[in-house]
């Protein structure tokens, strides 16, 4: 009886050890297999401004409230227009900068007079919620200097970006963490 018991026990121990080795092998092998594909720096998510269709999903889909997506102005591209199509609403009845005439629903675009007839437009990132209404306005009627970017001081870098999942134009992709912004620049002709 005891001999049988011992036999069964040693058999079980053997099966356990074999199983442990069998199972440990792939886990230990994984880093070796993936060594070629490992990246120390990692990735972050970013919007390609040239693919973006300013659909407003960035505002509502981000896991952060308000969204980690904020608007930016590419100053070298900006026309510094007095009648800025990103700043003023289309079809406004009066021609002034009263709140009802502004396109931005949260009043995040600040207008500053530079010199006749130029105005500088900057974004107050604390107010901006990434709705990209101004981006559409500037793209449709202006120079397209306003564009949106994921701000990495706010982004929590989800494993799969919730906006990337719903982005209709596939504009959001992983970019190397060392170069986390896609800056819109003046295209050379």
């Amino acid at each position: 009886m005891s001999e049988n018991g011992n036999k069964a026990e040693s058999r079980r121990a053997f099966v356990k050890t074999a199983g442990r080795l069998l199972i440990a092998a792939p886990v230990l092998a994984l880093p070796v297999i993936l060594a070629r594909k490992t990246d120390v720096k990692g990735y972050v998510w970013q919007i390609d401004p040239y693919k973006c269709t300013s659909c407003e999903l960035c505002k509502s889909s981000c896991v952060m409230t308000p969204s980690a997506v904020k608007c930016m102005n590419a100053f070298p591209m900006c026309g510094y227009c007095d009648f800025c199509p990103g700043y003023l609403r289309q079809g406004a009845k009066t021609y002034n900068t009263a709140a009802e005439n502004q396109l931005c629903p949260v009043g995040a675009i600040k207008r500053k007079f530079i010199e006749e007839p130029y105005f500088e437009y900057t974004i107050d990132e604390k107010l901006c919620d990434g709705c990209s209404k101004c981006v559409k306005g500037c793209y449709d009627f202006g120079n397209g200097s306003l564009y949106i970017q994921i701000m990495h001081n706010l982004c929590v870098n989800c494993n799969q970006c919730a906006i990337a999942r719903v982005c209709p134009s596939d504009a959001i992709s992983r970019v190397p963490a060392t170069d986390p912004y896609i800056v819109k620049e003046l295209k050379k002709l």
């Binding site: 442990r20 990246d39 659909c55 120079n143």
Partner: protein, 425 residues
Amino acid sequence: MKKLNKYAPYLILAIMLIWQSILYAQPQRFPRPEFEGGYTFPTHQFLFQRGPMWEYMDVAVLIGALLVTAWMVLKKRSRQGLVWVSVFSLAYFGFYRQGCICAIGSIQNLSLALFNDNYSIPLSALLFFSIPLLAALLFGRVFCAGVCPLGAIQELTGFRHVRIPKRVEAVLTTIPFVYLGLAILFAATESQFIICRYDPFVGFFRIDAPFTMVIFGSLLLVTGIFVNRPYCRYLCPYGVLQNIFSRFSRKHLTITPAECRNCRLCESGCPYDVILQSDLVTAIEKPERSLKESMSYMLMIPVLAVAFAVILYNLAPSLSAVSNNVKLAKEIRLEKEEGIKAVSKASVAFFESGKTEAELFTDEQQIIGRFRKGAPWVGLFLGLSLGIGFFRLTIRNVRYDYEPDRGRCYSCAKCFKYCPVKIKN
């Protein structure tokens, strides 16, 4: 007329050339201003959140927490200590790191990196995947016990202990296998990260979530008060791996610190009902299983595996609907065939992008092809797991002690207090 025919090609060429320049000039409708007052452009501040060094800090904390948990469970045998480790893990990995990066989600990074060439896995994600599994091989499921923030939040809110009928439990425990299989498939085909998307507690960690996630998470937490750790038991895909690895663990939590007296006091002490009864007590009730039956179950394993592989292969086109491109292609095809106007933002963006329908449809076929390639393997895995699960019901080791089921035990140390055997230091 003749002249027109002669010059028409050049005219078209000229239009094409000019058209190009129009397209190029399009974003520059207004000339750049030439400032006279010495104006300089304001500069943007491009901010980062955390340096990559911090990711390795997370790995160090992970290893530390695993070791402390193992020490609490195996050496110190202190439930109170484990509770404190859980609190720390919940605070650090949960509320400070906001649930990212986690071992459960890293399955998908691994799968994405293994089957796609354009993605290379961050080293920290790889470490977060493999270190808890190695720990499971050494000490059992110590990761689940005190390090995983999702486990910790449920561990700290589980107060009562309601027994689930064995049959219900058996059915529910198959869900994580399906979840794991699908998560790997969807990540490998670059379509979805479902584990992260349906993470129930990340909303609590961020104190910010869509209301569906809050409802799902709260329901799980409220259920968890009575049926402890519902996510770990009936959903967690990483738990499947932990379960398999822990079965072969080198050391594991024991209910009694010394020798089991078969006093049956711990029998109903486990909130997860994973304490295996000793045969000294239940020998009379033990049903006899014949070798023949056992063999027939063994033969069923490959049959089940093949059957599931075939089923999943045929399900592949429907599974591929989770991919955005397949969804878009369906919508565009509907518009073409039925005349229903495609109005979704994706289709509007598609028409703006200037891609052709043929491109989209070949893309769709490629994705379905990838699903066809991957899905049978998922089926194979599911069939094998189910077959082995059935087979395991027919074999039984003789036990002389009360001991936890190594696969399903979370090493929560709640059973310690039921054991009357105490060792005085």
